[in-house]
């Protein structure tokens, strides 16, 4: 009886949070769609400001009801600088490069993203990662200022992006939080695809394909990690998480999408990376070598996360975890469909390019 009343109380407390979270996701999604589908610069700017405002407000209220607001510092700053540069016709080259570095998350300008990661909920941060604001900002910026990043500055930025990709992958190697480690792969791939954007038509094509593969991979892997955290309370990688037997549905999704995500043949990322490899090769041998190192590290990061979540003996408490609910089955079905799409892209890449 007491357990039931406690459960009811817990449910009634969690309802407002869930509702506000849904509204928040809706607002964030609308802003994300806005920046991607904006037909004109003013609409893009409005959506860009809306996205940052949404992220900053949600980050500021992360302490919950009845707690003091804690405004983030770096995220509003990043939003202001990038919005200002996007609105400015013909900024100077160094300023253009700065905007690119902030929007694209080149180290150490990625800290605004990390600050938001710490304050936003898992799903809100996932939305921000899937939205890839850096890519669309770069696209818009290059459209508006086609000559701003030509020449040696473009090559320097390209090298910075590749170096950031290596550093992000390396950080993924030492992260104990699975979501953080997988995010490191996403950020690293994001840097790679932004580097690809500096290398002409093939680079843009590669970036587009890699963007699709990366968004699909991030969606599946981080959703699985979120479900594992929600259902089994797994927050850290450990040799005794052993979730493969406890959550076989999530296990098969994670392992299949994980390998495809890091460029295994059979997935769209394989061709995207191959295309990117050729695009980079025409511009810089050093950048290509860095790209190869990044892809190698990403595979190791992914497998480390997989082993830390799904391998090893299962803890006794987790054996009695609740069976998959109906909503989870739907969720898994959608994620499986996304995985199948990525496989189709790997078998017939021409469909996506």
């Amino acid at each position: 009886m007491m357990e039931a009343s406690l459960k009811l109380q817990a449910e009634s407390e969690s309802v407002p949070a869930r509702v506000s979270s849904r509204w928040s996701l809706l607002v964030g999604s609308a802003a994300a769609v806005g920046i991607w589908a904006a037909p004109s610069r003013p609409v893009f700017l409005a959506s860009w400001v809306a996205l940052f405002t949404w992220a900053c407000v949600r980050a500021a209220t992360s302490g919950g009801q009845g707690r003091a607001l804690r405004l983030p510092v770096l995220a509003p700053l990043a939003g202001l600088v990038t919005a200002g540069l996007a609105a400015w016709n013909g900024p100077t080259q160094p300023l253009a490069a700065l905007g690119m570095a902030i929007a694209g998350g080149v180290l150490p300008f990625h800290l605004w993203l990390e600050e938001l990661r710490r304050r936003l909920s898992h799903r809100e941060y996932l939305l921000l990662l899937l939205c890839q604001p850096g890519v669309i900002w770069l696209h818009r910026f290059v459209q508006a200022n086609p000559t701003a990043l030509r020449g040696s500055l473009g090559t320097v930025l390209l090298l910075f992006f590749v170096a950031s990709a290596i550093l992000q992958s390396g950080l993924g190697l030492v992260r104990q939080d699975p979501a953080r480690a997988i995010s490191a792969i996403t950020l690293s791939q994001s840097c790679l695809l932004l580097a690809g954007c500096f290398t002409g038509h093939i680079g843009w094509e590669a970036a587009r394909a890699l963007l699709i593969a990366m968004v699909a991979g991030t969606l599946v892997l981080l959703s699985v990690i979120g479900l594992l955290r929600d259902t089994y309370g797994v927050e850290k990688l450990a040799p005794d998480n052993g979730l493969a037997d406890v959550a076989p549905d999530l296990h098969r999704l994670f392992i299949a999408m994980g390998w495809l995500f890091v460029g295994l043949p059979g997935g769209l990322a394989f061709f995207a990376e191959d295309l990117l490899f050729h695009a980079l090769l025409e511009h810089s041998t050093v950048a290509t070598a860095g790209f190869l190192l990044t892809t190698a590290l990403n595979a190791i990061v992914f497998y480390r996360v997989y082993a830390g979540l799904f391998c090893g003996p299962s803890r006794r408490g987790q054996q009695a975890a609740p069976a998959a609910s109906r909503s989870r089955r739907w969720y898994v079905a959608i994620l499986t469909a996304v995985t199948v799409l990525v496989v189709i892209g790997g078998l017939a890449p021409a469909l996506f390019l």
Binding site: A17, S62, G63, G64, R70, L111, E114, R117, R118, R119, L120, S121, H122, E124, L167, G170, L171, L173, V174, R175, H201, I202, E205, G226, D230, P239, G242, D245, P248, D249, R252, L253, A256, L264, P265, G266, F270, F271, D274, L275, F277, L281, T285, T288, L292, L293, A296, L297, A299, I300, Y303, R304, C311, G312, P313, T336, T339, A348, A350, L353
Partner: protein, 433 residues
Amino acid sequence: MNLHTLTLLTLAWTALTPVFFGAALLFGLRLPEALQQRLAVVHATGLLLAAGALCYLFATGSSPMVEVSTGPLLDTHGYLWRPVLLIDRLSVTYLALVALIFPVIVRFSQPSFHREEGSQRYWFLVSLLACALTVVSLAGNIDVLLVGWELVGVSSVMLISFFRRNPRSAQNSLRALIYYRLCDLGLLGTAMWIHHAFSSSAVSHFAENAAAPTAVGVAFLLLFGTLAKSAQLPMSPWLHRAMEGPAASSAIFYGALSVHLGPLLLLRTSALWMPHLSVRIAMVVIGLATAVFATLVGHTRPDAKTSLAYATMAQLGLMYVEIGLGLHTLALIHLCANAGLRTWQFLRSSSLIQDFQDNPLVGMDVRLHRLPGWGSLLPARLAGPLYLAASRLFWLDSLQWSFIARPFLGFFSRLAAFEDRLLGDSPAPRSHS
């Protein structure tokens, strides 16, 4: 049916079963055990028949080298991804080896995986390996070779961690993956250089490109790329850890087929590196050092599978020496013979004690004479320290950890800590409902 069609059909056939098993696993469909085993048998038999027909057509044909290509899989902005396959003496020999050994492994695995949890996963990975090996054998350009090479690596890693409840399996598979990926950088770098500096990435054009100024760099990268798969120094310490997997998978990977991919790749690309003496010297030195290292370490191992792994490693070292000296036919014969012998030895390793007890021809004196002759020639003062060093793998593991892995990880740990300090006042992430 001509050679062109048969080659494509063989490749399609080998891909069919892993695709089916993979789809079933992805959708969570549990296939009946009898169906799983029947599929594996049909797959292996089909591969055997196709390889036999391919060998026959090649042997009766007039051309020593046939290139098979299809339409491009991807054609965008001047970038073309076209699968090119090559049928020659080397590819049909290795394909025949794969086709002969694979049914043996399947037959042996049937009783081993009867009612075994995860048998579907096992059949998927083994059939994926057969497909990947077929791709590597028939690869006619560096891009196709990379596809097969990567798939071999992944299936190997997943089979090492097959018994996933054992924490050591996961650790060891991660270790194997690290070595694989490190050396794959060599192969990827080779691909990079070939695309950058050569007129074509097709293997049949390598001889024309051997005189290019960058060919020696490509050759060194290639040599590096082969080291992990064949467990040559300094990329050796993963091999004994790979014995965590099922015996049948150890046989096919580390006794027979996967581990011989290094020599196969060197033979396949010999036109490129043969003119460069420095590369051949490096190959011989690595091979000799590995042979000595593996022989010494192998004699200190207490279990059958690990001893066999080191024996294989030693033979592979000798193959590198043969290839470096230009004895390519001898190396190919050596490769086939070693693969056959090690398959048998690995498959019997689980029942070694029973074999000794039941076999009237094996008496006590066999066990008494296990020490090699040269062992007794060593002075006692040297034998002790040498044994100690060999039993500790000549501290190769510790050296690699102390001078490569720890500084590398340490740098990123410090970077991560610095990042955390910079944002240290931020609150912890909220719950994510």
